[in-house]
Amino acid sequence: MKPNMRRGMILWLPLALVLSLFIVFWRGLMQPDDHVIASQMVGKPLPEFAFPAAMPGQPGVAAADFRGGEPRLLNVFASWCLPCIAEVPVLMRMKAMGVDIAGVAIHDTTPALEKFLGQHGNPYSRIGHDSGSRLQIALGSSGVPETFVIDGKGTIVHQHIGVVGERDIAKLLALLGKAR
């Protein structure tokens, strides 16, 4: 290469750098910033909480309920959450298989819950009100629905983000079995 040709290429280098940076920034701006936020609480003990009963005739939910030796599911849901409707039949099937599911209702009211569970079915053994998302935030959960697998000692084993579908049953059952 002739020296002046190399010099010419070096002169173009800054422009190329700026252009490639521009492309990176432009792509970053155009893509929606939607991250799935994994909880950092997996592997750690369930935070302390005790919620009053949300449904008449069913107990509330407390952290102590999860230390009884039996692995359980902790389902974070709400009657105002449309995707939550989709997972009720799947949760009902898991309940029929003998899985104990505790429900924590976010920003909810008892009449709204009665209507929701009356319409779609009630897969929960116990339901508590988390009106200020306190447990949800302490769990590192960022939306509804989310389902946590808790082992018999009250340790969080797994976080399932989003609707529990038919194809998630096997995985959750295996995790519950392992958590025994």
Partner: protein, 130 residues
């Protein structure tokens, strides 16, 4: 006159009886409220992910503001509250990146760019002198 005085006295005596919802209502102590606001500005809303919890209308952002104000009011340090949230959601929830091996490029790159630029300018000046 006596009625007006009685009314004024009643006003003075009537403190805030109901517990205030600190999702929206400021703390009474301005210094603590400022601490809370500064923290809220640098905590990311996990629902509207580009926004800090201070500027988000999502109910969950309000829940986070409430927790932050309550903890500040109880005497917790902002850095401890930030660390608590990071222990739940990861570094991602904080707009203030910490220095650790994974974030070193973030801190070193601007420095490297500045040094590189300085070197280029120095070389240019030396060339021109010749």
């Amino acid at each position: 006159m006596r009625a007006a005085l009685a009314f004024a006295a009643a006003l003075l005596l009537a403190g805030p009886v109901v517990a205030q919802d600190h999702a929206e209502i400021s703390l009474a102590d301005p210094a603590r409220e400022q601490q809370a606001l500064d923290l809220m500005d640098t905590i990311r809303c996990v629902v509207c992910q580009g926004q800090p919890v201070s500027g988000s209308d999502a109910p969950m952002a309000g829940d986070m503001r409430r927790i932050i104000r309550e903890r500040i009011a109880a005497g917790d340090k902002p850095d401890d509250i930030r660390a608590w949230l990071v222990s739940r959601y990861g570094d991602w929830v904080s707009f203030k990146p910490v220095v650790k091996p994974a974030t070193l490029p973030l801190w070193l790159l601007p420095l490297a760019a500045l040094l590189g630029g300085l070197w280029l300018v120095m070389r240019r000046l030396r060339l021109r002198k010749r």
